[in-house]
């Protein structure tokens, strides 16, 4: 073949090759279309909102009754004190400063020779705190009503922090990272679905992950027992707490 032909053939191939590449890369780009709606997903969301609405209506009735009863009792000291004490009891449960008892699951996460032998790497446990608060997050996102890590109750102010390899803190109290027990009262099936991904994360750190069901109603989540004081946040409309 003449050099001229070789060159022209080469040029044609080059041109076609680059055209093909351009073609593929432009058309094959992942579609970032957020408008794709899925009816199944929408129906699930609709069901959630309907449940929520039912709860809101009952909550409004309850609050209206409570307001009325407070107004009626303004002159009657004993009854008013009793009504407020009853309310305080309920509010304490919601804040996590009263124990909760019921059905649920117990999760144990322990250093394990088998998990290390299977390829788990204990040096990955540097991010143990990260996976623990994600785990609690996923329990709460899956219908947990009360959670405790080594008997430290998780509340709205709870944090988890790894200070050093042997110093893991829950609610600013040190716990032993080698063996951790998490108790959660709530919807057992749903919480277990939420835990699907987690055994693998902990095995990769050389830890064993076990879940035990408690169905006799006797799983007790202790109360948060650190004194609480709000220095910055005050009820909207109040001048002073």
């Amino acid at each position: 073949m003449e050099t001229k032909h070789k060159v022209s053939l080469f040029m044609v191939s080059l041109l076609l090759g680059s055209m093909l590449t351009v073609q593929f890369s432009t058309v094959h780009r992942p579609r970032t279309d957020t408008n794709v709606v899925d009816n199944v997903q929408l129906n699930a969301e609709l069901a959630t909102e309907k449940d929520r609405q039912k709860f809101y209506y009952s909550e409004i009735n309850r609050l209206e009754d409570q307001v009325k009863s407070y107004e009626n009792k303004q002159g009657n000291r004993d009854e008013l004190v009793k009504a407020m004490a009853d309310d305080l009891d309920k509010v304490k449960t919601l804040a996590g400063v009263k124990p909760v008892k019921g059905n649920g699951i117990v999760i144990t996460i322990e250093d394990s020779f088998d998990a290390i032998a299977a390829g788990g790497d204990p040096s990955k446990a540097a991010s143990l705190d990260y996976y623990l608060y994600q785990l609690i997050n996923y329990l709460n996102g899956n219908e947990a009503q009360a959670v405790a890590v080594d008997n430290h109750r998780i509340v709205s102010l709870s944090s988890i922090r790894m200070i050093s390899q042997n110093n893991l803190q829950v609610n600013a109290v040190m716990i032993d990272p080698k063996s951790i027990t998490i108790k959660a009262v709530g919807n057992i099936e749903q919480m277990k679905i939420g835990m699907n991904l987690f055994p693998q994360f902990f095995r990769e750190m050389g830890k064993d992950f076990k879940i035990t069901d408690v169905t006799n109603g006797n799983l007790t989540i202790p109360a948060y027992d650190t004194p609480v004081e709000f220095k910055y946040a005050q009820p909207e409309g109040d001048n002073k707490l």
């Binding site: 076609l16 609050l63 008013l80 990260y130 910055y232 909207e236």
Partner: protein, 249 residues
């Protein structure tokens, strides 16, 4: 010379053949892609069932938002009555009144106000290079939870994301492409409000190796957009109206 012509002919023929085949392939390829792309684009608009459900969903969501406001008003009214009871009757055990206020704030039932910070977390909206993982550019449930954890370590007393108060039982979880907080769908951008010592919280977020660096620096493998935390003398965080995963019956 005849030999040469023959060779040239053969070359021309084969070149033509190759060009024809390649041309055909290209056009088929292109058409094929166009058809699938069009089908994908048309899908959402042509499902009337989904559209109907979506409309219903929008309506009930609006209604629920109104009910949430009613609940917040009633909670405020109740709080006012409790305070009033304590003011009128000095013998009324003051600790009951104060504990009620304290634990209502802690549970997340009462709307609160105070000094704090605000900032916004968003996906990276720039074009994502073809060789990079899209997941590194979008905000995950775990990112939001990480930020909440850091704020609480720094002493935050109340936190909200897009108006959703962080309570005793709050979960921040992704279901498919949705982020749900308190079982309510929220979308980008994610606006954080936190009440507490503003300097402490800003330092915790902005410190070297802190959460903002971890989530926004390419050398850490993440590319989120986070606005610098702004200090404010008065941040308002709404109360939570929900059922605490069924704990409140």
């Amino acid at each position: 010379m005849p030999f040469k012509t023959d060779k040239r002919m053969r070359l021309t023929v084969s070149l033509t053949m190759i060009s024809v085949i390649l041309g055909l392939m290209l056009s088929m390829q292109y058409k094929n892609m166009r058809v699938t792309a069009d089908a994908q684009a048309k899908l959402p608009q042509t499902d009337p069932k989904a559209q109907y459900t979506a409309e219903q969903l929008d309506r009930i969501k609006d209604e629920n938002k109104g009910l949430e406001e009613d609940i917040e008003k009633l909670n405020k009214q109740l709080h006012g009555l409790e305070k009033q009871a304590g003011d009128v009757d000095k013998n009324l055990a003051p600790e009951i009144r104060d504990d009620l206020t304290k634990y209502k704030i802690m549970a997340g039932l009462l709307a609160v106000k105070g000094p704090g910070i605000t900032f916004t977390v968003d996906d990276n909206k720039k074009d994502i290079p073809a060789d990079k993982d899209v997941l590194l550019y979008i905000t995950h449930d775990s990112d939001l939870r990480m930020i909440v954890n850091e704020l609480l370590i720094a002493g935050a007393e109340a936190v909200s994301i897009n108006g959703q108060r962080i309570t005793t039982t709050t979960g921040i979880v992704c279901i498919g492409t949705m982020v749900k907080v308190n079982n309510q769908r929220i979308t980008t951008p994610f606006v954080f409000n936190a009440i507490g010592d503003p300097k402490n919280m800003i330092n915790a977020l902005e410190t070297r190796g802190g959460v903002i660096e971890v989530l926004t620096r390419p050398e850490n493998g993440r590319y989120l957009t986070i606005t610098p935390p702004k200090q404010s003398p008065s941040i308002t965080i709404p109360g939570y109206a929900g059922d605490f995963n069924g704990l409140k019956k």
